[in-house]
Symmetry: C2
Subunit: 414 residues, 2 copies
């Protein structure tokens, strides 16, 4: 079975806005064994929207429309789909009552244009919307002799997700051949994409029933595994088997096998070990602290730290001797170590983490080029320093540096 | 003139990847007066791709294909477009030579499959690609009696942008009616979307020749203005006129009228006033430092600061008396002020900026609920404290808090 996802709204045809609902829907559809073959974006024009609907009915089995179900003149999805299917709309008195009650409950007066939200395509099932005023629709029937499943969903992500999950997935499951799909996401850091692929491809290529996709992101590689089988256990077993072999080969580099982020994993280990962390950041300027504290509950293990952008701050806040900075330079292995040790002592933390480097685009020299970063981790067993040379722009270098620093904590505690 | 943009690649139909080139192209096309009416995503299937091409030729004047021009079996754009147009491909000996030289220059041996990149649709102009091995194509001709402009562009963003800018824009300019389009983006903070619209709508509604779009983002509202006229001066003048009236009404809230970010604007003012800044962050955990230091050259005005996540750190790094924290609570107006003053003194900065609040989702009380944040700015003229109550999740609350804090610096210096 193949699907087409259609996003409706003129704002999605500007340089400023982009449909993201389709990523969520693709994930859910794939899990049920439905592949997405086409995605289309069209504006609030009855003519264009009807044309897009007609094309979709001619080429897909499952057709999902998102948006254009509101009360304004620009909301034309009901009308366009009805026209493409050659079916009339009828006003549903039950929805009219529901709308009236909804407005009354909020103490608002309902403007007459809201009534169009009670229009339902003849033969369609109306899908109540718990989070908004526009109900969705489910239509299952033949078009030009072929069985089609059509859904009309509201555009706002939280309305769409709740409605799809509660009302469309069960209906769709009853229509698609029963199969179980298991997916797994491994996250890897500390190696390049081709280096990773060279080591894991010989393994995953022998699992022809598991679809494996490698995606390279900033500072991490994602390995997406997907398999389908007649039972959940059979699918689960195949994925587990492959994950086990991959982890035997590159386990050290795999930091997550359940989709968790690096900062979540680091937080998990810190809590498990009852350890605390303090940071001293130069070139990352606060990014490491921001990432660690983005995790809810991080106050249990993250004490804080210093953003030591200037040399004086390195001395004042992290206790690095001014002499050392003068002798070695702010971007040096020794200053990185002194920052980590200084902030650990100052904050009385189990671990002190520090980063100093040249994020660019200016400030590089032949000896200390843009991208050179020293990472240090101080603990009661001593201080470890890692020197790396990252490629890319300022944003990318800072991100890589934060990822490497967090990975040092992970490796220390795991 | 209306356009359809078609992104090609099976990875763009997974839950993990999304086309972003179309946002860039939409911006450039709009500037030339070409509106985008449809966007389509299709996978690496000759049948589906040919079908999509045929539909596009039937409904758009300008048709842009992105991707699928490489050397592998999956790269099928040339073949599909040729089939949809009913035109044959011919192998271009000049491109064959260019490909051979390109590989030889890198010391690589060319695999035979690379030769398909030398195939050109009969009647098309090949567009050299300075950044990759896949040339693009430009086709101008009639389809079913209607004039069509067709472009085939490589998928990687840096290849696509360079090729489009250098080779497609001049060709397109020669084809579209001469008009000048001027756009302007105002960024506004400190007021809500409806509040903003209520004040500016009466102004922009009188400028029927300027298209005005309001977009609400986290902590800022964007006002996009666009107009077209027969001369550049005339278009510029109309936009300037509208901007002037809007700034007269809500100028205090407009922090940027050229697209610059809040952190760029703050950096600009700090440099202009030869001022330095130090920060003490509690609930934002490093986000403010990260944003300020994301601007290249920020070391000229950003000294650094402290991430004071725990109470002990507030005392140790920013010199806030432990008594005060005990008496007032860490989330309080007085502690915010003490943090700002403490970090200003400790870092010897012109301005000390501090944030303390409850980012949630846990840790809120009836008296100090999730979303309550105190922002303080200390200078030689005293300390100003702003209390705000933000709605939303942890990420959103932290972002709002950083935006409010930076806006206090902007208002202080402007």
């Amino acid at each position: 079975m193949n699907a087409e996802i259609i996003a409706i709204g003129s704002e999605l045809l500007t340089p400023y806005r982009q449909d993201t609902n389709s990523l969520y829907l693709t994930d859910k559809l794939n899990q049920m064994g439905v592949e997405v073959s086409f995605k289309t974006v069209v504006g609030d024009s009855l003519e264009n929207l009807t044309q897009v609907a007609t094309v979709a009915f001619s080429r897909a089995d499952v057709i999902i429309f998102m948006g254009g179900l509101g009360p304004t003149e620009d909301d034309l999805t009901r009308e366009a789909v009805a026209a493409a299917l050659g079916l009339p709309l009828r006003r549903d008195p039950a929805i009219v009552t529901w709308l009236e009650e909804r407005f009354a409950a909020h103490g608002w007066k309902m403007a007459p244009n809201n009534l169009k939200q009670a229009d339902v395509i003849v033969g369609a099932t109306s899908l109540p919307n718990a989070n908004g005023s526009a109900p969705g629709m489910w239509i299952s029937g033949k078009y030009d002799g072929h069985a089609k499943i059509t859904m009309l969903l509201p555009g706002p992500p939280h309305e769409l997700k709740a409605l799809f999950e509660e009302q469309c997935i069960p209906r769709l499951r009853a229509k698609v051949p029963a199969q179980f799909i298991v997916t797994r996401e491994l996250k890897i850091t500390g190696m390049g994409e081709s280096q990773c692929d060279a080591r894991v491809a010989p393994i995953y290529k022998t699992f022809t029933d598991v679809q494996t996709t490698i995606l390279a992101g900033a500072g991490e590689i994602q390995l997406h595994l997907k398999t389908r089988a007649a039972t959940l256990d059979a699918a689960q077993e195949r994925v587990d088997e492959l994950v086990e072999l991959i982890e035997a080969e590159i386990g050290d580099f795999v930091f997550s096998d359940n989709g968790d982020s690096m900062e979540q994993i680091v937080g998990y280990y810190l809590q498990m070990r009852s350890a605390t962390l303090a940071v001293a950041e130069s070139c990352t300027g606060g990014l490491i602290g921001e990432r660690i504290s983005s995790v809810s509950g991080s106050s249990r293990y993250f004490l804080g730290g210093a953003v030591v952008y200037s040399n004086e701050m390195k001395t004042e806040l992290a206790g690095v001797p001014a002499r050392l900075i003068q002798k070695e330079g702010a971007v040096s292995s020794k200053v990185a170590a002194a920052l980590a040790e200084g902030i650990r002592t100052r904050c009385d933390a189990t671990l002190g983490l520090a980063v100093t480097g040249v994020a660019g685009p200016n400030g590089g020299t032949a000896e200390k080029p843009v991208g050179l970063v020293f990472h240090a981790l101080a603990s009661d067993s001593g201080t470890e320093v890692v020197e790396r040379k990252f490629a890319g722009d300022r944003k990318r270098i800072r991100w890589f540096a934060s990822q490497q620093a967090l990975d040092m904590v992970r490796r220390k505690l795991k």
